[in-house]
């Protein structure tokens, strides 16, 4: 049904934008490279006959009309932004699988009752601007447009200004979206499909997340003259906290706990660090367990403050409870995998995805495909043309089923 070689070629062409030495991509949200990727995608979508709309938070909608213009579209899509040292497939695969569905419908001159719509969501990664899934989050109402436009990166650059600068501050309202159903195709980004030898993950939901900003304030002092017992070292305290995050996650299986971002001040070899800013990311598929992790973190911080004299300011910046996907959409993905004779298993998404927020206002599920050694958020992220074909074919089948009802 779909054209494996064309899908793969599009993935490789898109990967040239922001390509890194090690075979990955660096295409941070709303940079010039993100703009280049968006421009190329829009050109392709127009060539496939789609109508293009850009909304106030920069989400791009490409629509292939259905035979009944009063019906809501069947949607798909993902994101084109990447991590600073990201791969070629995270997000991009979901967008270009959607485009391949439309190209294949064109090839076979298939008319659908419902329109087919692909979304490119703004800043899914949450790396340059935190938190993640901003474009879908604004459309779902999880975030206000205003708060998102006012987010800043580490250099203080405003998201709204960057949208204007790259020409993607659109006119379409972010409210009033509706889908018949929404499916997002994505590499799993984890090890389970590969470990179980399955081609397709039928995604039944996404785990919950809690993100925090942390600021630790100690006292700068001389590394050679300040006796060990008189120090208020923000970095040794931060180290204890980082190890506690690891322990808290390990004690709450299958939870995850990560410190990915950290700045040390004044960052001078012979000065005891006086200030640390860092991130904490906690995840769990069960909300109760995520609460236990949050409470354990707060208790640890209280103990560390008492023990070290370092002041620790913990600011929760993001929370969402685990997301259950729609049973009918889950079934549609499973039935498609069966119909196409792909090995498959149910799976919960460990990453956040735009589909998680779309599921607030539309019946939603996702299609996962394996990636080599479960590695993502890494330039060596790898998957095969066959795996991409499988995910795209399942997407095609599930969307077509829903679009004809």
């Amino acid at each position: 049904t779909i054209n494996k070689a064309r899908l793969w070629q599009s993935l490789m062409d898109m990967a040239k934008i922001g390509a890194t030495d090690k075979g990955g991509c660096c295409r941070l949200a709303l940079t010039d490279l993100d703009k280049q990727a968006r421009d190329l995608y829009i050109q392709w979508a127009k060539e496939a006959g789609c109508d293009i709309k850009i909304d106030q938070v920069g989400n791009i909608r490409a629509t292939r009309p259905g035979t009944d213009s009063t019906l809501p579209p069947v949607g798909t899509g993902s994101h084109l932004d990447t991590q600073p040292t990201g791969g070629k497939f995270d997000g991009v695969f979901g967008v270009l699988a959607g485009l391949e569905v439309i190209r294949s419908l064109n090839d076979h001159q298939i008319k659908t009752r419902h329109p087919i719509e692909i979304s490119v969501w703004t800043n899914e990664e949450g790396s340059r601007f935190a938190p993640a899934m901003m474009g879908s989050g604004v459309v779902s109402g999880r975030f206000t447009l205003e708060e998102i436009l006012n987010k800043t990166d580490v250099n203080g650059v405003r998201l709204g200004d960057e949208l204007e600068r790259i020409g993607y501050a659109g006119a379409e309202p972010v409210t009033g979206r509706a889908y018949k159903a929404f499916f997002e195709t994505h590499i799993e980004q984890g090890p389970y499909l590969e470990a179980e030898g399955k081609m397709i993950g039928v995604v039944t939901g996404g785990q919950g997340q809690r993100w925090y900003d942390v600021e630790l304030t100690g006292q700068e002092s001389h590394a050679g003259t300040t006796p060990m017992h008189l120090r208020t070292d923000a970095l040794t305290c931060a180290s204890s906290l980082i190890l506690a995050v690891q322990s808290i996650a390990t004690a709450n299986k299958p939870g995850c706990g990560t410190v990915g971002y950290m700045q040390v001040l004044p960052n001078s070899r012979n000065t005891i660090p006086g200030k640390i800013t860092m991130s904490i990311d906690l995840r769990h598929p069960e909300d109760r367990a995520l609460t236990v992790m949050d409470e354990a973190l707060k208790a640890k911080i209280e103990a560390l403050e008492a023990e070290t004299g370092v002041k620790i300011a913990l600011t929760p910046i993001w929370y969402y409870a685990p997301i259950p996907f729609d049973p009918d959409c889950i079934d549609a993905v499973r039935e498609a995998a069966k119909a196409l004779d792909y090995s498959h298993m149910d799976i919960i998404a460990g990453a956040g995805h735009d589909a998680c927020y779309v599921s607030d206002f539309a019946p939603t599920s996702m299609v996962f495909t394996p990636c080599l050694n479960g590695i993502s958020h890494n330039e060596i992220e790898s998957t095969t043309a066959e795996e991409c074909e499988a995910g795209c074919a399942v997407l095609f089948n599930a969307m077509l089923t829903l679009a004809q009802i």
Copy 2:
């Protein structure tokens, strides 16, 4: 003998160059601000009748002639560069105390047999360019001129190029220096004088130091999809190492161990860090104990590699054994403190000082004065005009004694 108000005023005038919001100074070595400080100092030294020479590594020598031009000078001096969030006194006090000695000799029309010479040594702090005490280290022969000119800062800027750029790549050879004696005045930068209620520290030597660069290589991976037991997290491993540095120092009293500098890559909230670069600074007044600390560090690194799978590359970048100062110079400082009726105690320098390297080729000692709460390498570093007067008066007395012999 010396002019307290003039010394204080000079300290306050110099502190305007690179002044920070919190009352400190940011005047990193060989920046435009370092050049401004050097220019102002040279203007003052010329006004005091000194002859100025600049050597190939940017050290500035200001000389007041003696009555016997065949005799080697009695020297003093320190540095004008600061930490990124440094104080107004660290280094600057030693330079301007030297200038005040010459101004006071002029006031009292005292002729000395030996010339009096003040040195401003290049990059004493070791913060922008590691290691520390580079200017004095080149003159002592601890470093070659070539290796120092080729040092780079974190942005890859070459020290030699910066010297040229600010106009301080002088013509004077770095070799062939000799002193009758050398004394450096400095704030203690630690808590002992204050704790003991003494005005003057008679410095009998400096503790030994070992500096290292460390690179930890794990594997970047997704923070939400990579199970805790499948991670190779460079930051959790670095945290264990930082806590080990603290433990090693605490177990080897009165040793110090500090990680002051750290960079996390890719530094993205939802990516497990794949690469960390950091510094380690170990110190001890006894060389044997410093060796024990070095061995404990290497053993810990081996254990951590085995335990975590993170690769750890430890590169020693600096080592010097504890430095004993010259008994006669130590006596001269003690006798000066006694003669001027200042309370005093013997003390070992916890910080590295240019005097440590000068002592390779000249009889040397130092004069310490208290600083508030023992805090240095901090914008709130504080001392009083009376304490500066005391240190400068002891310097004047000791130098004058030696300069007349």
